[in-house]
């Protein structure tokens, strides 16, 4: 995926803010061979329990995010979540619950309350595994 440092920082800050529970949200932008992420849409972790190692985003949250993205001329191109005190790699649960190939799945590791590694993944077309994507950082657009 291609994005900016401020976007990556917002993901890290969200993960630190909800620690020791998982944070989650949508990546908004433009879809392509390399998804271009230009905005985030935070959502509450709707998981009822075990929020330290599970997250859930409801269909209602998806529809709200999709409407907000559309209003800005953007699409939902992925999802992010945090792994409190675990590495920034997809878990077995992440693979079992994976939705569609083409989404970018960003995972930020938050160790003892501090965000560390941040990685991006996509589900293989045959749904068997996640492949890591490079994270390309572009310069933020100058404010006018």
């Amino acid at each position: 995926m291609m994005t900016t440092d401020p976007i990556l920082d917002q993901i890290r800050e969200h993960g630190e803010a909800t620690y020791p529970e998982e944070c989650c949200g949508f990546l908004l932008g433009t879809a392509g061979d390399e998804n271009h992420v230009t905005a985030l849409h935070q959502v509450p972790n709707r998981q009822e329990d075990q929020r330290t190692h599970r997250y859930t985003i409801t269909p209602a949250d998806y529809r709200t995010a999709d409407a907000k993205a559309s209003a800005r001329g953007l699409d939902i191109v992925g999802i992010y979540h945090s792994h409190p005190d675990h590495p920034a790699r997809p878990s077995e649960t992440d693979l079992a619950e994976a939705t569609f190939p083409g989404y970018t799945y960003v995972i930020v590791s938050v160790m003892e309350g501090t965000a560390t590694d941040l990685t991006a993944w996509s589900l293989a077309p045959d749904r068997s595994t996640f492949h890591e994507q490079p994270v390309t950082v572009e310069a933020p657009r100058p404010s006018t």
Partner: protein
Amino acid sequence: MATTTEQPSVTIRIPTPLRSYTNNQSIVEVNGATVQAALTDLIDTYPALKPHLYHDNGDLRSFVNIYVGDEDIRYLEGPQTALEEDTEVSIVPSIAGG
């Protein structure tokens, strides 16, 4: 005289990553008097969508929610929910992980 049953024409909203299977269309026009018939028409037209929406046993994947307008079909008549002309059907994922 042979009779033909006119199936209503409805639209299905496609989530962004699945548009690569629908010629990059975000909204696909299909025919179907029920949600099930409309989804069958969608899959017949774009068969590569099928493994991402359905399990091998033919059940919808648990994270795939189907909305008719603003209503989840689980709270309507499920796959047998009737569709009228120009109804908008949406494929809405619920997302989870660990």
